[in-house]
């Protein structure tokens, strides 16, 4: 008895314990068995592909020739890929900040109102749809034509109130005798003495846009001491003769014609055209004058901001992305907010702090851990952004809106079929995410 106890307490040095208590497998066997499926899946689908991708990135397109760091050099010299990296940097700097900030604002503001839950649901709803579906929705909303794109329609309401479109937005002069002045008006070049007749032919007007009361245009008789003229739609099917009033060419009624002093400049008088397009200026006094159609007639209807054009496409996609993720930030921060003891805030208020000071000096510092979680999560997601970019950007600007994940997909699978370069891009993205992941893990450790 005492012998076995002695041997149990003092194992012989240098020799592995034989039959000394439970062995490795008996102690850890069950744990291993439970972990095995997960470990297998992780190895097969994450560890092995990662290693293979890293190796593949050192080979060329076909996979046969070892080319070392050549792919990485291409990564930093090719225009398309540089644009992608630059765009991702922009995303990294702008989007997580805005998502967190907007989420914070919503969380704080929505806390105090009634039906806050309903509002929170509304703000959070975009999270319920996939990023790709959100992209499709915003693609439709960003259409340039104000009659189709929601965003531009909203802007058009304001724009049209400020500068309404003119009666003849698309009209052009039909001859060289009428030219565009610097202020947008169309001016008959040749100055007219009293008794002169002005002919202002316009094209580019649809037959259906001519007012209903228009009739065949006529060239008016000269008026002694005054100036007369005609404004008409100078077009006959097949072209017609420009500059002359032809048959079936209608006058344009309701146009405001200005009488200007010679050389442009001040407006002496105004007249409106009749149903046959004629207008009359009585008694113009001596000296030559020029006849013009005011710029207001030609102001184009609001054409819409080109959200999907080269310059605005990345901001446009960012806005859609923030719309989707602000809800997530709001919900997480609201949860953190609920955990803040209210008496701290009360104490600050009784000490005389304004709401803004309470927010800045008390609430935000207490929320810092939660805000950090949201911010770091967004950093990681933004580095990988892909589906919303491919959904929103029309084909012609996909290059300008390019991001690293999209560039990787295009390079490997999207037609270029250079799997080596695609692997290099994937490794690069992996390296970018690692520091942020490390940060996250450090935070977890610290919290525990």
């Amino acid at each position: 008895m005492s012998e076995s106890a002695a041997t149990a307490e003092a194992p012989t040095r240098g020799l592995p314990p034989q039959d000394e208590g439970p062995g490795f497998f008996q102690r850890y066997g069950v744990t291993l068995v439970f972990l095995l499926p997960a470990l297998t899946l992780l190895t097969v689908w994450i560890v092995y592909p990662t290693i293979r991708t890293i190796i593949r990135s050192f080979y060329d397109r076909s996979g046969d020739d070892f080319i070392g760091f050549e792919n990485y050099r291409t990564l930093f010299t090719d225009d398309t890929l540089l644009t992608a990296i630059k765009n991702n940097l922009l995303w990294l700097l702008i989007v997580p900040f805005f998502v967190t900030a907007i989420g914070l604002v919503f969380a704080v503001l929505l806390e105090r109102i009634r039906f806050s839950v309903a509002f929170k649901i509304v703000v959070f709803m975009p999270m319920a749809i996939s990023l790709f579906a959100a992209g499709v929705i915003w693609r439709l909303m960003y259409e340039k034509d104000p009659s189709q794109g929601t965003v531009n329609a909203a802007i058009a309401v304001v724009a049209d109130a400020v500068s309404p479109s003119g009666v003849l937005a698309s009209a052009q002069p039909s001859t060289e005798q009428v030219t565009a002045a610097s202020d947008g008006a169309l001016v008959l070049e040749r100055p007219l003495e009293p008794g002169g007749v002005a002919q202002l032919g316009l094209t580019g007007i649809r037959a259906s846009d001519v007012p209903d009361d228009a009739v065949q245009a006529v060239v008016p008789e000269p008026l002694a001491g005054g100036i007369t003229g005609v404004v008409w739609r100078d077009f006959t099917p097949g072209g017609g003769t420009s500059g002359e009033v032809g048959e079936e060419e209608l006058g344009l009624p309701g146009i405001t014609v200005e009488l200007r002093s010679e050389g442009g400049g001040s407006r002496a008088a105004q007249a409106t055209t009749e149903a046959d397009g004629t207008f009359v200026f009585d008694d113009v006094g001596s000296g030559a004058h020029q006849v013009a159609i005011g710029a207001a007639t030609f102001s184009e209807p609001y054409a819409g901001v080109s959200w999907l054009g080269q310059s605005l496409i990345t901001p446009a996609i960012m806005m859609a992305y923030v719309w989707v993720w602000a809800g997530f930030a709001m919900v997480v921060i609201a949860a953190g907010l609920a955990a803040i003891p209210r008496d701290l805030l009360e104490a600050a208020r009784t000490d005389g702090a304004t709401e803004w000071q309470v927010f800045r000096r008390v609430t935000v510092p207490l929320l810092m851990p939660v805000i950090a979680v949201v911010f770091i999560t967004m950093l990681i997601y933004v580095l990988k952004v892909f589906d919303i970019v491919i959904a929103i950007a029309p084909g012609s600007v996909q290059d300008d809106a390019n991001v690293i994940a999209l560039a990787m997909w295009r390079t490997s699978f999207g037609g270029v079929n250079d799997f080596g370069l695609g692997a290099a891009i994937a490794v690069f993205l992996f390296l970018l995410v690692i520091p942020i992941l490390a940060l996250n893990i450090r935070r977890f450790r610290r919290e525990v």
Partner: protein, 434 residues
């Protein structure tokens, strides 16, 4: 103790199920004679929407002849090329795929991914002629049946718009410019352009280039034997400036055109209240518009791409080449079926289809416009396959790169010809050397 072993057994069983599920599928076996052919055949092509329904009608015709073969069709859309490349790389391609790029077909042939169909060569030559048969072969080995062809030297227009402006379809490039000017004077936007990912503009470039530079230089450009910075390329782009140089020529202006996709640009013309009078696009146009309110000839019509400086009649066309990834009796039977006039006639009757098959009954074309464009393709003095489909796909078949991107950039900046040609040359140098 015992419960621990039960749990362990369950885990092992679960793992076994997962492993079995991950294993590859087995094709159904095929037995002897032609009437007894069984099995599954999977097909992929770009046809979606209305075109997909038409192809499924063709498949139904096949299944009537071979009732024991089960054919499934999946549409790959515009992403067919990358989908197939991935599937080949992963070792799991469909049995048959109909691809539009001979360049891609050649790539697959070099990789050994597609199987030769030399047995069908005679049937193909009988039905389609040597020239078309050769498009489907690589280095003398037959790989493909060209089932569907498209005449890309066509311009479609809205009849009411032309009547309103009092113009007739032009015969020459100069007349086309005059037609556009007259339309503009009438207040009608002359061109509806859908730049999309760029390929519609590559078609336009090819049509201009084959007329300004001639078919021999066209071939040289395809093989990158002359650089993209060659004066002939710049001359062709200068001709195109007459269309893209003025934003008012295009529906919605240049910025809208850059965001418009091809079906929308066609729908803008094929409409009761058209936004534009003409759309420069291939003969498949009527087939891409769902709910077309207009009738052929009375509502919409077509004219051949006009000659430039007295060039002879030339047609640029494309076709869908059906290749065989995995051989099986069902797949071979299907490819043989595609060479028959009956298969083509099923789709012809539904419209939006042009068959390169000479033995097709022309009366099957219910649409006289389709008959015209189909014969326009076969009767042109010069025929060339669409250049961008002959080029390496990294240059000629990828959105956001190479030829496609060069053309979208040209539309955005039509005055920067030197910049665009240099960009094209740089991209070509990269793509052609690999």
């Amino acid at each position: 103790m015992r419960s621990r072993w039960v749990v362990l057994a369950m885990l092992v069983a679960a793992l076994a199920f997962v492993a079995a599920g991950c294993g590859g599928d087995d094709d159904g076996g095929s037995a002897g004679g032609s009437e007894d052919i069984t099995g599954d055949v999977s097909i992929m092509a770009i046809w979606g929407g209305a075109e997909q329904e038409s192809f499924e009608a063709v498949i139904a015709g096949f299944e009537e002849l071979y009732p024991n073969v089960n054919v499934t069709y999946t549409s790959g859309g515009d992403n067919l090329a990358p989908l197939l490349s991935t599937a080949v790389e992963g070792g799991n391609p469909p049995d048959i795929a109909c691809i539009g790029q001979p360049g891609l077909m050649a790539q697959f042939a070099e990789q050994g991914a597609i199987q030769p169909i030399d047995d069908l060569r005679d049937t193909i030559v009988d039905n389609f002629g040597e020239a078309v048969a050769d498009v489907g072969s690589v280095d003398g080995t037959q790989y493909a049946v060209m089932f569907k062809a498209a005449n890309k030297s066509t311009i479609w227009y809205n009849v009411a718009s032309f009547e309103e402006a009092g113009v007739e379809p032009p015969q020459t490039w100069e007349e086309l410019g005059e037609v556009a000017t007259t339309l503009d004077a009438a207040g009608i936007t002359p061109y509806s352009v859908g730049v999309d990912v760029g390929w519609p503009i590559t078609d336009l470039f090819e049509n201009v280039y084959i007329r300004t530079a001639g078919p021999e230089m066209y071939d040289q450009l395809v093989n990158h034997e002359i650089p993209w910075t060659d004066q002939s390329v710049k001359d062709a782009l200068m001709e195109m400036q007459s269309i893209f140089g003025a934003s008012s020529n295009l529906v919605g202006g240049t910025s809208e055109a850059l965001q418009t996709d091809m079906p929308t640009s066609v729908a803008n013309v094929f409409s009761d209240s058209p936004k534009g009078a003409m759309v420069i696009i291939g003969a498949f146009a009527p087939g891409v518009v769902t709910d077309n309110p207009l009738e052929p000839v009375t509502g919409y019509d077509v004219f051949t791409f006009p000659s430039i400086d007295g060039s002879g009649s030339a047609a640029v066309g494309s076709g869908d080449l059906c290749v065989n990834f995995q051989t099986s009796e069902g797949a071979t039977a299907f490819l043989e079926y595609l060479t028959t006039p009956e298969a083509a006639e099923i789709w012809i009757a539904r419209g939006g289809f042009s068959s390169p098959n000479r033995n097709v009954d022309e009366a099957a074309y219910t649409d006289e416009l389709e008959r015209a464009t189909a014969t326009g393709l076969s009767e042109a003095e010069t025929f060339r396959f669409d250049a961008s489909d002959l080029m390496p796909s990294a240059f000629g078949g990828t959105p956001g790169q190479g030829f496609w991107k060069g053309m979208t950039d040209f539309v955005a900046n039509p005055n920067d010809i030197d910049g665009v040609t240099q960009q094209l040359e740089n991209a070509a140098n990269q793509a052609y050397t690999n």
